[in-house]
């Protein structure tokens, strides 16, 4: 049933050998998935604060968009994060998260260039590496997360993923 590979083991392979790419993909998936699941929880547990953060960014003052973003952003984060942790549709989930991170980076840079005093609301009342205030640290933080997200985006979910299990299904 299992394919004993003539080619070297790579992420997503169904052969018996576990390569460093599989481990790297697993670590990156769990790390990014965990961070985004936590971020989604922090935002959804206090939507009032997150909506105020979105308003403070002054990207739009159109209320329906602010209200929509207040819930759609964390919901999308949560769904993509769960999929990434499970390793189901890993590349698509990683792509969605990378897209969100790029949007966040652009938004943060725009706030910095406009010299606005904003708390980002990224992790609710919690923090990752940087404080809640928008600063260049946030750009670096999001850039590092984007780089880690690129691992499952490029390599796929790896051997320890639902994608691999479904491929192995007889």
């Amino acid at each position: 049933m299992s394919v004993v590979g003539a080619r070297p083991a790579a992420a997503g392979d169904t052969g018996p050998r576990v390569g460093p790419a599989d481990v790297a993909a697993l670590i990156a998936r769990v790390l990014i998935g965990g961070v985004f699941l936590f971020a989604a929880y922090a935002k959804l547990s206090d939507p009032q604060s997150f909506s105020e953060s979105i308003q403070a960014f002054r990207i739009t003052e159109w209320d329906p968009f602010v209200l929509f973003s207040t819930y759609a952003l964390p919901c999308t984060e949560a769904i993509a994060a769960v999929m990434l942790i499970l390793g189901l549709w890993s590349r698509a989930a990683a792509f969605v998260i990378a897209g969100l991170l790029i949007v966040f980076i652009v938004a943060v840079i725009s706030v910095l260039l406009r010299h606005l005093d904003v708390h980002c609301g990224c992790f609710g009342r919690f923090r990752l590496f940087c404080g809640p205030e928008i600063a260049w640290c946030k750009v670096w933080e999001n850039s590092v997360l984007t780089a880690i997200t690129a691992v499952p985006l490029v390599l796929g979910g790896g051997r320890f993923s639902a994608d691999a299990a479904l491929r192995n299904k007889p």
Binding site: P47, Q48, T70, A72, C75, T76, E77, A78, I79, A92
Partner: protein, 222 residues
């Protein structure tokens, strides 16, 4: 490739659909209401005669002074507070700020301070200890993560309050007022000082008695 694009679209659509549905059922308050909430005045502020028991005339004092509203006045006869077209007894009601039911000028804030109305500092506690309007309560919106803070439940129901932060660019006062309204504790009318603490500080330089400032921790709201 088509499958990848399809999966991305499914994930985004799923997230935005659930989020959009949750948003439509949400009770998030994006803006302050057009009108102030109706309140019943249970404990009107005291008169100007005893409004500043600790006022010594110094521009900035190191000892925080308890606010008159915290000194335990017995509840008065209940009466429905009038619709707030501006703070009671305040001057300058024809200013642009007075058209907005929430924002008040520094002169109007001073009149309310003299009346003994409770002032709330919505900035961080560090900023509060560095300097705040004399007798102000510190109340950061972060305090509302769980149940309402005890001092809010103990001192604010039935009270007119004035909230301030860093001024026109600051949204912390509005954020705090939204949370106080959501508590339904019969607090109000609410007033927000448009120029915030920086404006009050400027006035303090020329009129330290009229615009008193304290430093240090909070006194009288434990």
């Amino acid at each position: 490739m088509e499958r990848f694009i399809l999966r991305v679209l499914v994930l985004v659509l799923l997230g935005t659909t659930i989020g959009g549905f949750a948003g439509s059922c949400s009770n998030v308050m994006l803006h302050l209401p057009q009108e102030q909430p109706k309140t019943v005045a249970a404990n009107p502020p005291k008169t100007a005669q005893n409004a500043q028991p600790g006022a010594t005339g110094a521009a900035i004092t190191n000892d925080s002074t308890p606010h008159p509203a915290t000194t335990g006045a017995p509840p008065q006869t209940e009466s429905v507070a009038p619709a707030p077209t501006g703070p009671g007894g305040a001057t300058g009601a024809t200013t642009a700020e007075a058209k907005n039911p929430w924002f008040i000028s520094l002169e109007e804030a001073k009149a309310l301070h003299d009346k003994g109305v409770i002032f709330i500092d919505a900035r961080t506690f560090i900023e509060y200890t560095e300097g705040h309007i004399q007798g102000a309560m510190h109340c950061d919106k972060k305090y509302f993560d769980g149940a309402a803070p005890k001092k809010v439940r103990d001192y604010l129901p039935g009270q007119e309050v004035v909230v301030y932060c860093h001024g026109a660019e600051c949204t912390d006062s509005e954020a705090l007022v939204k949370r106080l309204i959501a508590l339904n504790l019969n607090i109000g009318p609410y007033h927000i000082i448009k120029d915030g603490f920086p404006g009050w500080q400027e006035k303090n330089k020329t009129d330290p008695k009229g615009y008193p400032i304290d430093k240090g921790g909070e006194v009288g709201f434990q």
